[in-house]
């Protein structure tokens, strides 16, 4: 490649990418950097004089409700990590250590909870595990005691950990799978075995993966708005931020202070994960036969392992089961199961909630499209051009990871309320398109990573071959690069789509009229009233079906793309 001509500022080949880079940068600055900056500015501004101050933070920590909320959020996130670890550790151990038939179940376990965000099943979980829920009714009948699974913060912890433990499971399993077998064999050969081998070699080598997973769980739980809101636990940070903004108004500084705290904690958790991973990219430093040694289980061990896996499976599936029961049940209160079953809730949802579904498909579809277009462009600009400052685009897009949904929502309200949609009196912040943009920004990091991965699999020599046969840059991108990236781009699209379809934290702040609301908001509204739970659950099931289909399709696409790449000869 002719580096000289492509790095020259005025070179023709670079004008196109440069213009695109600038457009993307403007988009990210306008819809990510400015709103978040606005949140920070307001948090540090005296509400009366407008001068720089810490007074808002002092007020925050002087208010007992906020102090309590802060500690509750911290407590819930920490305990959820612990509980999620207890679920994930044995599962990861079984898959990496044994030739275990249950591995397939465990892998499924790893996806199932991710299909449904925790808030969707939260209310249904109360009916199953609440103080008058099925499990406690049975426990009380047979053993005379109950367990407060869902009391207050317990409920949030319980629901969050069974939804988010897969992040630990996936990361830890990957770390274990990446340990080269010779790492273990050399220790064995030098006289180590059993627990000592585990403690000195296996455990430290898998630690970075565990910490990465644990930090994701911490952030997700710490930032989550929907679950505490639906469980009616309001003394946590994210619900407080939402309630202050929605009840007191967008000029109340407390919502902004909370937002800053949420961002700081997200950054902190990411920093911890970064420290754990730094200099420990163990997988790539050594090559050899992969994975730890596996052995067959003895019959008794197998029985125990299956029992444990099935027990975890039952718990993991409980939100889905409860939601399904709720959606088909007539009345379900103070009883183990609903009194009778009906399709009425689905009928109601289809007749009255059509807008929710339509909006969801429209918003998530648009957001995912924006994501893959920007993601592909950034991937190309960063990895294939020499444009100065190209890495900034990458960092800017990735920084959305550290911005909780509530914070982005508040930032949008504050930033765009003062502007009207052209030719109308509607504030921009209330315009449905702003929801689409917010969703796109929030999902961009994931879509972009998928696009980058897809681009990195395209050997540069394939593009060089095209250029040497006379194709210009643009033509090469169109005819060679993008077609070869298709699998990855599609996978990115579907992941973005599926997760955007059930996003609540940002959406809830930005929806201004029910006609503009997507499915997640609909579930939230329905679940507010006892009568709405049935239809709410039916809507939840619909959302799960949409997301499950999306996940399935994306997995199929990734598999197909992998197969296609596997057939091509090695082109490194």
């Amino acid at each position: 490649m002719s580096t000289n001509s492509s790095s020259g500022f005025l070179s023709k080949a670079n004008l196109g990418p440069k213009a695109i880079a600038i457009l993307i940068a403007l988009f990210l600055i306008l819809f990510l950097a400015i709103p978040v900056a606005k949140v920070f500015i307001v948090a540090f501004q005296d509400p009366n004089t407008g001068s720089l101050t810490l007074i808002n933070f002092v007020d925050f920590f002087n208010t007992s409700l906020f102090r309590e909320s802060f500690w509750n959020s911290f407590y819930v996130a920490s305990v959820s990590v612990v509980l999620a670890s207890f679920i994930a550790l044995p599962l990861a151990y079984f898959t990496s250590r044994f030739n275990f038939g249950g591995t397939v179940i465990i892998q499924t376990l790893g996806i199932v909870p991710l299909i449904m965000p925790p808030f969707v099943g939260a209310v249904a979980m109360q009916l199953l595990f609440g103080s008058n829920g099925s499990v406690n009714l049975l426990l009380d009948d047979y053993f005379g005691f109950t367990i407060p699974f869902m009391e207050g913060l317990n409920g949030v912890i319980f629901v969050q950990s069974i939804h988010y433990f897969p992040f630990i499971l996936i990361n830890l399993s990957a770390a274990l799978a990446n340990i080269d077998r010779s790492m273990e064999e050399s220790a064995l050969s030098l006289g180590s075995n059993g627990m000592r081998l585990f403690r000195r070699i296996v455990f430290p080598l898998s630690m970075p993966g565990y910490v990465a997973g644990a930090s994701i769980v911490f952030i997700k739980v710490f930032d989550d708005l929907g679950t505490p809101l639906l469980l009616n636990v309001n003394n946590m940070l994210a619900p407080q931020a939402y309630l202050r903004i929605s009840s007191v108004g967008i000029s109340d500084p407390m919502g902004y202070v909370i937002s800053v705290i949420l961002v700081i904690f997200s950054l902190f958790a990411m920093w911890v994960a970064f420290l754990a991973m730094r200099g420990k990219d163990y997988a790539s430093t050594q090559k050899g036969g992969g994975g730890l040694m596996k052995r067959d289980m003895k019959p008794a061990e197998k029985l125990g392992a299956y029992a444990l896996v099935l027990f975890v499976l039952a718990i993991v599936l409980s939100p889905h089961i409860a939601l399904a029961l709720l959606s088909f049940g007539t009345i379900w209160s103070y009883s183990v199961l609903p009194d009778a079953y009906t399709l009425a809730h689905y009928a109601e949802v289809f007749s009255s909630a059509g807008d929710f579904i339509k909006n969801t498909l429209l918003y998530a579809g648009m957001a995912a499209t924006i994501d893959v277009v920007i993601g592909t462009a950034i991937a190309y600009i960063v990895w294939r051009t020499k444009i100065k400052g190209r890495k900034i685009l990458d960092y800017l897009a990735m920084s959305a990871l550290a911005v909780p949904g509530v914070v982005l929502g508040i930032g949008y309200l504050r930033t765009f309320y003062q502007f009207d949609v052209p030719f109308s009196n509607l504030p921009l912040a209330n315009f449905w398109l702003i929801i689409v943009i917010a969703l796109a920004i929030r999902r961009l990091p994931y879509a972009m990573r998928a696009c980058v991965a897809a681009l990195q699999q395209v050997s540069i020599s394939l593009e060089e071959a095209s250029e040497s046969l006379g194709a210009k840059k643009m033509s090469t991108v169109k005819r060679i690069t993008i077609p070869l990236m298709t699998g990855g781009i599609l996978a990115g699209f579907v992941t973005s789509f599926a997760t955007a379809a059930v996003e609540l934290s940002t959406t809830i702040m930005l929806v201004s009229s029910e006609a503009d609301a997507p499915i997640a908001y609909g579930i939230y509204v329905f679940m507010q009233s006892a009568a709405g739970r049935g239809p709410g659950a039916a809507l939840g099931i619909l959302a799960v079906v949409i997301v499950a289909l999306g996940t399935y399709v994306s997995n199929r696409i990734i598999q197909k793309a992998n197969q296609k790449n596997a057939m091509a000869p090695d082109q490194q």
Binding site: D180, S182, M183, E185, S186, A187, L188, S189, L190, G191, S192, N193, R196, R200, I201, P204, L205, M207, G279, K280, Y282, T285, Q286, K287, G288
Partner: protein, 356 residues
Amino acid sequence: MTQNKSTAGISIQNLGLSFGTTEVLKGVNLEIKPGEFFSFLGPSGSGKSTLLRAISGFGPDPTGSIKIGGEEVTGLPAWQRNVGMVFQSYALWPHMTIRKNVAFGLEERKVAATEIDGRVDDALDLVGLKHLADRTPGQLSGGQQQRIALARTVVVEPKVLLLDEPLSNLDANLRVQMRRDILALQRELGLTTIFVTHDQEEANTISDRMAVLDKGIIQQIGTPVELYDQPQNRFVASFLGTANIIKGSIKDAFFITDNGLKIPVESNLTEKVYLVVRPQSVTLSETEVVDSKHSHILEGKVEYSEFLGETVRYSVHCKGHDILADESHRRGNKILANGQNVWVVITKDQILLLDQ
């Protein structure tokens, strides 16, 4: 580090090993003498690494017997064998410093902490990398990692040293240096060593004796020169170096092929055989030569030539066979043109006949 007094011979009897239903080792018999430098040479999939791993105690349980220093080790777990294994990937633990890596085996053996320090220093000295003791493996080059892997293994004074393709991840120049260093280290320690490689040059230069493996069977055992000069079968003949191998049969003291090639031979073999002759034992003449007591002459035509630097390799078409001949090259020598008529001279004592 002192001369290793505990070094031991290895005796393998009728060893078999299967992955599921696939037999990867069949009836392996092998005697390795104490202090010997022995190589397993074979193409990938020949079972050489599997055999090495069976000796060190990894992989599926084999049938048959492995004795190290007279002690039966089959059934013993790896950590009780005291066999030093150096892995192809080096397998240095990335979360420990070099010093910690080298100290690991001594710690596992509950050696006193004060003694460990000294022995680790000695081992690092032995490989010349004491100054890197406090680095982590990621900060070392491939060659340095290799040396540390060696130090980590020999510091526990194992009974034997097993090296699994230790040079394959190094670049060409370093590989030559490293194999000399490994040999020097082995001689200094007097440690029985098995070296697995698919590279015959490596095996030839470093081994006292070696075993050529193919399809899970030991094809031949001997010194490098024995194997090259007296291959026992077609595989060994073709795997070590280049050879003209012509299929034919023996009739009335003549080697005859289907294409009508006929060479008088003295052999007690009967019926179907391979005639083997190395290209450097075949010479070409532009002028006519006649059969003599020492050589056979065949008339042929140059098919193509390849200039290899020190030699020129010709392929000569004779009576339906393509025979390779290497002519050593000196400045100014002219290269024979394709299509030119030549006389192929094969010295009789360079011909080897192998049973099919």
